[in-house]
Symmetry: C2
Subunit: 497 residues, 2 copies
């Protein structure tokens, strides 16, 4: 079939105009591959424009099924030069513009591992050391956490190249292994965890299967995508300014950021110790609590059996309408009440959080970052450069703001649970400008950060079908009770909405 071979030639020469022409116009045209289904000619054209060509390959078999004079299905087996085989299925339709594809389904050979998600992965990489409540579950360990015998890569090739193998597991890793879980592998992170996007310039953005062609969220991008893809059951991660909550929201996962200091950060590369926490992500809220049973100390604060759930109108207003709406209906269905009066000067807190985070990041890694500026992605390098100009007076002022915010928040909330959007938007598209999203996100996420409070994130679905998340911020030291509450509320959500 002549049009089929014209298509193949256009594909091999990355003739985007010709490919666009050979795909039928209109919103019903389909193109699906491992990254997800694109619907509509515009979405397909946008994808082609940035792809930069398909891998060289040959056609080893074709099966043409002629339906009528104007319709034919073509199934082709492809053999890429780099090995493996693939298949493409195309429905061709003849119209005024000649033969065009109205639906294409493309499968290529899969790589040994998805390097956007994993740095190293095994079957398993490290087996459980004992039997326990997490028997048979697989853990994706963020590449900031020590796994004995392996290096910490911190999302940056130069860091990895300078790292030696870790002598021992981080206590959190050892605890999971002792509870029956296997370490599946070491998953990607944004560089030194200093991002909320997951758009690592060295290894690419991990896929977000629930929101195809959109970002994964970060910095715990690899563990989140590994869990979302079903490569692992538990993502062992960190959250300084939202690095668990944001990818959970973008990918429709459950996540827990513990009370600051409640879970050992030993063997975990720090970013900003005043805010750093070690937490986890799962597909299922029930498993989130089961992991908590393994990793958390006994609660030091109570939560009432039916705690007061509150929300703050100012915080909710920081979210995009579709997210505010999803969080709002979820909250309304669970009797969440509005806080009297505003929570506090959130924008001032956000600024102080960012200043102090940067100050501490420079204390931790500034020397390395300055020596390796050329090895860092532009966003993270810019963060280090800006933070390096912070004066100690500015840091002191930020520290004072954070301390008073912490006191205020703990007093205002008391033993109540604050309900807020986990992130202000659904996952932005790949290639979108992320700077404004980052600012708005930190305004939401810094609340738990400055207060050192635990935050459970639960998955919701926005009206457009994309995932978003709701966070529950509870009293310091109430982690287990908060996880139990979240499990109950999530179950209500499943049956009630």
């Amino acid at each position: 079939m002549e049009a089929f071979w014209a298509y193949e030639r256009a594909l091999m020469t990355d003739d985007v105009a010709e490919l666009d022409r050979l795909f039928a116009p209109g919103p019903a045209t389909l193109r699906g591959d491992a990254e997800g289904l694109l619907v509509g000619h515009d979405a397909i054209a946008a994808f082609r424009a940035v792809r930069g060509g398909a891998p060289a390959r040959r056609i080893v078999a074709t099966h043409v099924r002629t339906i009528d004079d104007d319709h034919a299905l073509v199934v082709a087996v492809t053999e890429p030069e780099r090995g493996g085989r693939g298949q493409q299925t195309q429905l061709w339709v003849r119209g005024a513009a000649g033969w065009q594809v109205v639906a294409a389904h493309v499968s290529g050979p899969t790589p040994a591992l998805d390097r956007r998600v994993w740095r190293v992965v095994g079957d398993p990489l490290v087996p459980a050391t004992a039997s326990g409540p997490l028997d048979g579950l697989r853990v994706a360990v963020k590449d900031l956490v020590a796994v004995a015998g392996h290096r910490i890569g911190a999302g940056n090739p130069a860091w990895l190249a300078g790292a030696g193998p870790e002598a021992a597991h981080a206590p959190v890793v050892a605890a999971l292994l002792a509870a029956g879980a296997d370490v599946a592998g070491i998953a990607r992170t944004d560089e030194l965890a200093w991002s909320l996007a997951g758009t690592n310039v060295h290894t690419g953005t991990p896929p977000n299967p629930r929101a195809p062609h959109r970002i994964s969220g970060g910095s715990s991008s690899g563990p989140a995508s590994a869990v979302s893809l079903g490569h692992a059951d538990i993502g062992l991660a960190t959250d300084t300014g939202g690095s668990i909550r944001v990818p959970a929201a973008y990918q429709g996962l459950a996540g827990h950021r513990p009370t600051h200091g409640a879970v050992s950060a030993q063997g975990v590369l720090p970013l900003a110790p005043s805010f750093d926490t070690v937490g986890w992500l799962t597909r299922d809220p029930g498993l989130l609590a089961a992991v908590g049973d393994v990793l958390l100390p006994a609660d030091t604060a109570d939560l009432a059996p039916e705690p007061d759930l509150v929300h703050d109108a100012g915080l909710t207003a920081l979210a995009a309408p579709e997210v505010a709406q999803a969080v709002g209906s979820w909250a309304a269905a669970r009797g969440v009440r509005r806080l009297d009066g505003p929570l506090g000067p959130v924008e001032e807190w956000r600024a102080a959080f960012s200043t102090l985070q940067g100050w501490e990041a420079v204390r931790e890694h500034g020397e390395w970052a300055a020596a390796h500026a050329a090895d860092l992605g532009p966003d993270v390098r810019a963060r280090f450069e800006r933070a390096a100009r912070t004066t100690s007076a500015e840091a002191d002022r930020a520290r004072a703001v954070v301390a008073s915010a912490r006191a205020l928040l703990r007093e205002v909330l008391g033993d109540r649970v604050l309900v807020l959007p986990a992130a202000p938007t659904t996952a932005p598209r790949l290639g979108a400008d992320l700077a404004p999203v980052r600012e708005a996100t930190l305004a939401l996420t810094c609340v738990a950060g400055v207060a050192g409070l635990p935050a459970v994130t639960l998955p919701l679905t926005a009206a457009d079908g994309l995932p978003c998340g709701v966070s529950l911020v509870g009293p310091a030291g109430s982690d287990r009770a908060l996880l139990a509450l979240a499990t109950r509320l999530a179950a209500t959500a499943r049956t009630g909405t």
Copy 2:
């Protein structure tokens, strides 16, 4: 569309009869997935009968394109319970039997790694230690070869569980790393390398992309499939009785079994040291020689610039007609002459080879195998049990036969190159009875084995489109010259046939 949902219900309940009914009868019906394209209702039904159900999932989106009253294309996005997303595209046709699928293309989420191919894999697992001629190439290391810091698993979970991390790389691994190659990962092997099939009962049979739904060949199954799939460029492997030559033939790869003793076996788990060799597999014959430049000593035997190429009618007759035909035309096009008189008592050699191989395998691993009989797959266990009954008198007799065969072969061949089928058949189907194939294979492969001679295998294609292989057996110590010859002959093949 009602038929679509009936199909989905049948799939989720593994109602094979109903699924068979919903797929149109006849040889033109198609079903493709990551394992390859099945053509014809019979092939599809055979696949379903052994699959044992599809993973639980839900349909998250459907797009129906009605072509006419009797034709519709249905594209569905699937979300398996275990995470990730997939797509299926089906062309439905309405005929006398109602709506039926005539073509289906199914994509599921890919696992973190293909555990049939890999035990552990990284990006890379171990980086090159220097720059060199193999810069940027990726090595799949058979799970018998020491990689520092990692255990040797030998294709058996009990062996792996009892193994400690290796203190140092095997010299072959260190040499590849020093030549610029990365170790991509540790790839599967048949248990203790004692098989030619690749059908490891613990981790499954690696896929054979050039021959879908057929076995990979073994025992170097993982490295071969890793190279075939494009997961690696070089498969570092071993060959005692055909473990490189057979998977090369089945998967259309190039492979080199070196002169016995020419490449260090230090740090490599032995099977039968009288026959064990360490060699490699590649997609490209040119790369096969480039790896030889790194791993081989200087040649100790010459090969004439245009050496005599000979074949033995008795050996060629051991192959199935389609393989004998492919090897025959290849040989005829290259002026390969028939040997005067029979090469020797090949069946007696094969028996002696098997006896001595078993005797040595029992010396190496018999104690472990006896203690772990329940942990071994039935075929390999039976081989150990049978070999354990060999008397030392029988072993002595076998040793004498091997010694005289070695002397005879080296004398008869002299400085000539013997051309023979690498394996007697194309890759058998998954589930086929492999015992007769194994016997016939060893009769061909034992020639290089008993003589300790180098054997280069080149990929051919049989008349039915499946891969097969031709082996070139040269004088002892002529490895580099033999690889150069093979590269020339392969290039001739590419342009000449």
